[in-house]
Structure formats: C-alpha cells, structure tokens
C-alpha cells in the first residue's frame, strides 16, 4: 500500500514527474490499496508472499512438533539432533500438505486429493468473486459470510420445501440461493447509496444477524430434521443436490458440480467487468466516483447493484456448501468460514476473476492438505489458518515482501509510461 521508495517525509503527491497541477485528493488509502492490488507487477509479490508464509509457517511446525521441541531442549548436547528433528518435522508436514492437496499415493483413487482441493475451492471461488467484484467498485464487502449464509438457507429451503423434477429442482434451488444472497447484499448497498452508511460497518452487523438467524432457524418446527435432536434442518431433496462429478470413478470423491459453476462464475464476472456497460460503470465508480458522476453515471445505484450482485455470488457459494456436501442440510456451521476466507482469496487473486479462481485453488489446496497434515504429522489444522493469515499479512504489506526479496520497485516499471509525457 505504501511506496517504500519514497522518503518518509515525502509529500502526498508522487515524486515521479508529477502532474503538477493536480490537487492531491484527500487521502483515500482504500483506493490506493485497490490500485496497488490490481497492478500486474504484484504477481511476483503474491507468489513470494506464499513462499514467505510457508517459511514462517515452518517455524510454527517445528514449535508444534513434540520431538523437534524435545531435540531443541538438549541443543547444546547434540545440536545436529535439533536441526535433524526440525527438518523431519517440516518435511513431513509439507509433504503431507502436498499429498493432501494434490496427489497422495496412499489414497484409493489418484484423484482423491485433487477432488478434495476442488471441493474446498468451489465455494471459496464464489465468495472470493463476491469480495473482488465489490473491491473493483471501491467497496469492501466484509459481508460475504452473511450473504453466503442466506444463500445456503434459501438453497436448502428450496431443496426441501419444493418438489420438482431433476435438474430443474437444482436450478431453482440455485436461483433461490442467488436471490437470498443478493437480497442480503442489497441491504448494505442500498443503505450506502441512500444514507452513506459505510458498507464495512453494515456488512459486519449483517453477518452477525445472518449467523444468529441460521442458528435460530435450524431448530424451528418445520425446519428442523424431525429425526434428530441436534441443530440440523431437513435435508434438501435428492433432485436439488449438486451432483458429484467423479462418482463414477470412486464413490467417495466429493467434488461436485459447484467447481464447474465456480469456473463459469469467474468467466461471467470477467465478462461483466470487462465487456459490459455495468462493469464499465462499476470500475469507473471504483476508480473515481466524482468523475463517474460527472460523466452521467448513477453512482448510488451502482453501489446498490454491485452489492446485490456480490451478494448473489456469495449466496451461490453458500449453496455450493449446503447443496453440494453432506448432509445437504443446514447446520449452524454449514458454510464454515467461506465468507471471510473469500476476502483472503480476493486479495490473493488481486481482485481479478481468474486470479480469484487461482487463489481459491491455492486456498482449497491448503485446506485439503491441512487435514492430511494433521493426520500424519499431528500439525493442528488451525495451522492452515495461520498460514492464511500470514499470506494476507505479506500481501497487505508489499513493501515488506519487496524488501525481503530485494525486488525492484514496482513503480519503476509503471513510470516508464510517463516517458511519453510532455512535448
């Protein structure tokens, strides 16, 4: 976000041959952040952030490993032991991570690990797209979690309240999920448009409301599974569930239609951003709302619509959990953390649709790998959340990455464009 090449006392304007006449806008850190985020030269930073996170993560692996810790205890007696044990711990953990995410010879099917990765990646793609789309319009959608909750609810309700033929039932359920999420996203959007209420505040509150509503709903008569006493709703009918893709290979492969829909959604968002007038408006509003207004765009309406579309995407993410995975029903934790993880994914993907898909695959791989890592090396699954947090921190601090890896300043490549200026 900050440009570390600048001397600390530098004025707000850029020192690269500046447009002298341009009055500096009142600080808009968020916009600058978005600009940094979507710059192509940041690809390397992203990759290095992941590498750095894995490095820092390895220290945590060592600390959490009993034998390694023990070996460090008698470090001065046998220093090599400590290093050897640490190496084993890290190696085992990351080999397990790899096996869990990509290929595990021990699994009955060669597709086993990939199936898990894709299963985790699908909902993250949807919520990542939701956050990314809002990002591009200059909005910070923290509310993907709540929107996904409503998507999951609407999807499952349509799944067991309606009785429709195959395919149709699923489509209807998905549309309902989309609408549910869109409604929940539209609320903060319209509040921002009409009253200027900040979307970060409203979406956080709406997340809480959605989460608590879900907990209340699943134990209500008519919704709760009558055969159970715990907090779980009735299951969506067979026709409404997302079919498994690789069931013909091996019955346990969980990967389902959601990942295909996620890829389509990424393509759709890409089209929307780059080849639709709405996308043009959205990006203009995100870049400079004043100029967008002067050019005749309805900024307030754009905010409201963007949030509705973002909510719809998150809603589909929720449905891909509630209609795609066992038990095909609502539980208080049915969508896990996909809304918040979507923020990470959007950051990883630099708010670009295909980047989001890549980010979701990485995140999905980490989550799939964590399970295996826990099983084999005893590394807590929470380790993945630590890695995730580290990645976000390193991405949010590009200056740090650039310093650590002595990258050439990204601004330099951009400033070549200024060569063309003047007469």
């Amino acid at each position: 976000m900050t440009d570390e090449a600048k001397p600390p006392a530098a004025e707000p304007e850029r020192t690269v041959p500046p447009e002298k006449d341009v009055a500096p806008r009142p600080n808009r850190p968020f916009r600058i952040f978005i600009e940094e985020l979507t710059t192509a030269s940041t690809f390397m930073v992203t990759v290095l952030a992941v590498v750095l996170a894995l490095l820092v993560g390895s220290i945590l692996v060592i600390i959490s490993n009993d034998s390694a810790r023990e070996a460090w205890g008698y470090f001065f007696a046998a220093p090599l032991d400590a290093f050897e044990m640490s190496w084993y711990a890290v190696r085992d953990a990351y080999v397990a991570l790899f096996q869990g995410a990509i290929y595990d010879p021990a699994k009955p099917s060669a597709w086993g690990s990939i199936s898990e990765t894709l299963t985790y990646a699908a909902p993250l793609t949807f919520t990542g797209l939701s956050v990314a789309l809002a990002f591009r319009a200059g909005l910070f959608n923290i509310g993907a979690q709540g929107q996904a909750v409503f998507g999951a609810i609407f999807g499952v309700l349509a799944g067991f309240l309606l009785h429709l033929p195959p395919v149709l039932h699923m489509l209807v359920a998905l549309v309902c999920a989309l609408i549910g999420g869109a409604l929940w996203g539209f609320i903060p959007g319209i509040l921002k448009a009409k009253t200027g209420a900040h979307e970060v505040i409203t979406t956080i509150m709406l997340n809480n409301i959605a989460g608590i509503f879900l907990i209340w709903l699943v134990v209500q008569k008519g919704f709760q599974n009558p055969e159970r006493t715990d907090a779980i709703s009735k299951s969506a009918e067979e026709n409404a569930r997302l079919p498994r893709l690789l069931g013909f290979l091996e019955g346990d492969l969980r990967v389902n239609l959601a990942i295909v829909l996620a890829v389509l959604a990424a393509a759709g968002v890409s089209w929307l951003l780059n080849r639709s007038t709405f996308g043009f408006e959205l990006r203009a509003v995100g870049g400079n709302p004043d100029a967008a207004k002067t050019a005749g765009m309805n900024v307030a309406m754009t905010y409201a619509l963007v949030m509705a579309v973002a909510g719809g995407l998150a809603g589909l993410g929720g449905a891909s959990m509630s209609l795609g995975l066992l038990p095909f029903a609502l539980t208080p934790g049915v969508i896990a953390n996909i809304g918040f993880d979507g923020i990470t994914v959007a950051l990883l993907g630099r708010a670009k649709p295909w980047g989001v898909l890549a980010g979701a695959l990485l995140m999905g791989g980490l989550q799939a790998g964590a399970v295996k890592m826990n099983a084999v090396g005893g590394v807590p699954t929470d380790m993945v959340y630590v890695l995730q947090a580290l990645i976000v921190i390193f991405i949010a601090a590009p200056a740090l990455i650039k310093t650590v890896f002595r990258l050439r300043d990204g601004k330099a490549s951009r400033s070549t464009a200024t060569l063309a200026k003047g007469w």
């Binding site: 020192t15 203009a284 400033s415 003047g422």
Partner: protein, 500 residues
C-alpha cells in the same frame, strides 16, 4: 546564500527526470526555473529539498558540498520550500501550523505566546501580515500561502523555493505575492521560483533557467520576449494569441433565467443569474475563484440541484434533469478540476475517451460494452487531438496535465454538441496544449456551437470570449462585449468594483 547544483541526475527506472542539471543561484537573486509540466522542475527541487536523493551530482551551499538526507537537513542548511499544495493542517491556527515541527516548549508545554511573538516579528520584518490566532481553513488561499512563507522564514532560511506559487492565486493576490518576493530579495534572501507562467517570470526574475525534458536547455534574462521564452520551453514556436474571426451569433442556445443555487454548506452561491449563450459565440464568464462559477456550472449540468429559476437548452428545460440527460441533450462538459471530475486515473486513455459515451453506439449498447470499438475510437481521437501518450492502453494518470486535458476535450468534442461548457480548460496545462485546446474551442464556435467558457485567467477570457460576463459573489455584475474589454477594466469588475 549562494547555491550551486552540479550535474544533478535523477532517474526513476528508465525515465531520466533530471539529466545532469547545473544551476547557480546567487545571493539576493530571484531565479526562475521555467519549464512545462513534467519537465523535471519539481523533481529537481525535491532533490534540493532533501526529499529525493540524486543519483549523480552534488549540491553546494556557499561553495561547501552538502548531502541532504531529509528536508530537515535542507532547512538547517538554510533552504526553505513553499509547496504548490500547502502543507498546512487546516484546523490548526496559524501559530500552531508554524510551530509544527519546531515546537517551542516551556516545561514540556507548548509555548504559544512565544511562537506568536516570533511570528509577529517575522511578519513585520518582511511585510507579511498574518494573524497568528486565525484558523488556517478560514483563510483565503493567498493568505495561506503567506503563512507558508512565514513558516519558512521563521526557520531562518536564506533560500526560498516556491513551487508554482501563483497557480492558485487571483490576479490581485499574484501581484501581492510578487511584491513580497521583491521585499525578500531586498532583505538579501535568494529565491527560486518554479513556474510555467511567462508573464510572472518576466515581471520578477533576475535570471531564468529553462528546463525541457529533464535537461537545461538554456538560460535567459527577463528581457526576452514571451514568444522566445515559450519557444525555448516548448521547443518550437508557439502561437500565444488565438486567431479568430468575428463571431456570427445565431439563435440563443442556452438561456439561464433567475437561477439560484446553494453550495455544499447550504449557503447561497448563485443568486438570480440570467445568462444567454447564442449559437456561434463564446460567452466568457470571468471572476475570481469561488464567486459561484462552480455552482452555476454544476447546476446547469445537473450535478447540483438549483433552488429556483430555469435552464433552457434550445427551449427545453434542463433543470431537474440528471447529468446523463443533460449530456444526452447535446451538452459537452470540460470540468474545472480534471483529476477529480474529468478522468478516472486508473482507466486507460481509451476508456477515459468514452467515459460518458460508453452506453452509446458504437461503444456499447444498454448491456454490452465493446472494447474493440473503444480502442478504434481511441486511435482516431489520439491522432486528431494530438494526445501524447505511449499507447491508448496507458493509464491516463501517466500523461502530462496538458495531455490529460486533451483527452477530456477530445471526448467531449467527439460527438455533435449544441453547447460546450469549458471550465478552466487551460488550468495546469502547458503552453503547447493551451494553444491546441484554445484552437479547438474556437473551431467549435465557428462550426455553429455555443460555448460557455468559465475562467479565472483574464488572458484566456480575453483571447477566446466574444462576450464577457463577470461574476462576483454569486451574481453577474456586468456583461460586456469582448471588443471593448481590457484586463484593467475586468480586473476591477472581478474585484466587485462596478465604478460608474
């Protein structure tokens, strides 16, 4: 203080912003650094002020080599700087702002009394009246600038750098500033004046160094004519006066009647204005910044609701319409602040060229946006309007101010217009681009369009307008044909003196 720069070179990646620049400023000299936007003047001064480290070259103060790691070093060496954008805290008082960074304390408590006394002393010595207790945001721009100067002087600097000091000033304030600079010179201070305004340079500089594309292209003395200086600065001959024939006004296009508008704080900014712009004429609205011009234009454009009155375009009411509808009715708009209202910096040149046309054929329909058509359009417009850009896909923020403005002008003139509203079209634009933009405005007029020009620059009004309306405190206090108008007469009117 004698200042010498030897072979200063500063690179940003592949761009050489300063290429072996040599500069000598003698004690008690006003040295003008003349150059267009992006020529490298500001980079050079940032090097001198310790904000940037030069890649090569050295700085000598009184023949002693210096290394400035921060502005603090520069200040202790006796160099002060007044930035183009003031570095003042708006909600602080003058005294607090001046103390900032060099706070006097008594037992750990700020000693405001001492600071005020010091400020008063400095301001009396140099004839720069400021009220230490005034809150900065309530002061006019000219006075804020004076605060910046006083701030530098209280740090006991011997050399003062002023970066485009007149960009934000009214003609009267400019004159006052020049007077202050003469006083400082008489007191033995050296002054480096960064500017691209030829007239001021001629009026005050002892010596002129011209910079183009990062290199010193020559020195001149103020005796040189404006044309010669402009040619040095731009690198070719420039026509400073616009060739135009007499206007042939036709039917009224824009008729504003009894229009009243309030500003953001709810105060009446425009009061019962009547205006008429005919086809084939340029109506120039002259006035000091902040006399309601902005609000008037925003009300016409549908960006700000009017309190009362009407705005007719060829007989159709525009008041109450959205900006989209006003644009669609055939109004082109060059906003006064291009970076805030005219362009999306992150967008490419091509995208900015259709910022208000993206929904009309061939660039798009209601739903679909067509980048291919936008790219084709960009190619043509860039050529037609001589926009200097690396490519149509470069972000518009990478262009110089003049070329950014040409992007806006190209966009607004690339469709048939009934009315063109141009607000400060030459603000912060280099001489070469001003010439071009002015020619296009006159061509628009000659093709039968009506042009409403708003400018605080008298030269611009006098060069372009066929009729001149002077705005003062939200009212039009005089409308006169351009033929009989002189800058003295307009200057008085802009100050509210109707003097019959």
């Amino acid at each position: 203080m004698k200042l010498e720069l030897r072979g200063i070179t500063k690179r940003f990646g592949d761009l050489v912003a300063n290429d072996h620049i040599d500069l000598v400023v003698e004690p008690g000299e006003i040295h003008a650094l003349l150059g267009e936007n992006g020529a490298g003047k500001s980079t050079l001064m940032n090097v001198l002020y310790g904000l940037l480290r030069p890649d090569e070259g050295e700085i000598l103060v009184n023949d002693v080599p210096q290394t400035f790691r921060s502005p603090g070093d520069a200040i202790s060496a006796g160099i002060g700087m007044v930035h183009q954008h003031f570095m003042l805290v708006p909600v602080f008082t003058v005294a607090e702002n001046i103390m900032l960074g060099a706070e006097d304390t008594k037992l750990g408590v700020l000693d405001k009394k001492k600071a005020s006394a010091h400020i008063t002393e400095v301001s009396q010595t140099y004839g720069l009246p400021v009220d230490p207790e005034a809150v900065v945001e309530t002061l006019p721009v000219g006075v804020q600038q004076r605060v910046e100067i006083v701030k530098a002087l209280t740090r006991e600097v011997d050399l003062l750098i002023l970066d485009e000091p007149t960009a934000v000033l009214t003609p009267q304030e400019t004159d006052e500033l020049l007077e202050v600079l003469r006083g400082l010179k008489a007191a033995g201070k050296s002054i480096v004046l960064i500017t691209h305004k030829l007239r001021e340079v001629k009026a005050i500089a002892d010596k002129i160094t011209v910079i183009r594309r990062g290199k010193v292209v020559g020195t001149a003395d103020p005796g040189e004519s404006e044309d010669e200086l402009a040619a040095m600065m731009v690198g070719r001959h420039v026509q400073l006066v616009v060739d135009k024939s007499a206007a042939e006004p036709g039917a009224p296009v824009l008729t504003v009647k009894d229009l009243s508008v309030v500003d953001d704080r709810g105060h009446r900014a425009v009061t019962d204005i009547d205006l008429e712009v005919r086809a084939g004429e340029v109506l120039g609205v002259a006035g000091v910044q902040g006399n309601g011009q902005t609000e008037l234009i925003e009300a016409i454009m549908g960006l700000r609701p009017a309190v009362s009155g009407s705005v007719l375009l060829g007989g159709a009411e525009l008041r109450g319409r959205t900006t989209r509808q006003v644009l669609d009715a055939g109004v082109g708009y060059v906003p006064e602040d291009r970076s805030t209202d005219g362009l999306v910096k992150e967008f490419t040149v091509a995208e900015n060229l259709v910022l208000d046309l993206y929904k009309s054929e061939p660039f798009g329909s209601k739903l679909v946006y067509r980048p291919e058509a936008v790219a084709r359009n960009a190619k043509d417009r860039i050529e037609e309007f001589d926009v200097r850009t690396q490519s149509a896909d470069a972000p518009v923020g990478s262009l110089s101010g003049g070329n950014q403005q040409k992007v806006i002008v190209a966009r607004e003139m690339s469709r048939p217009l009934k009315l063109l509203i141009a607000s400060q079209p030459a603000r912060g634009v280099d001489v070469g681009s001003i010439e071009f933009i002015h020619k296009r405005i006159i061509r628009e007029r000659d093709q039968g369009g009506a042009v409403l020009l708003v400018s605080t620059e008298l030269d611009e009004i006098l060069a372009l307008a066929d009729r001149i309306a002077v705005m003062y405190r939200g009212e039009i206090i005089a409308t006169l044909p351009a033929a009989g108008a002189t800058s003295e007469k307009l200057g008085l009117l802009m100050a509210g003196v109707t003097g019959d």
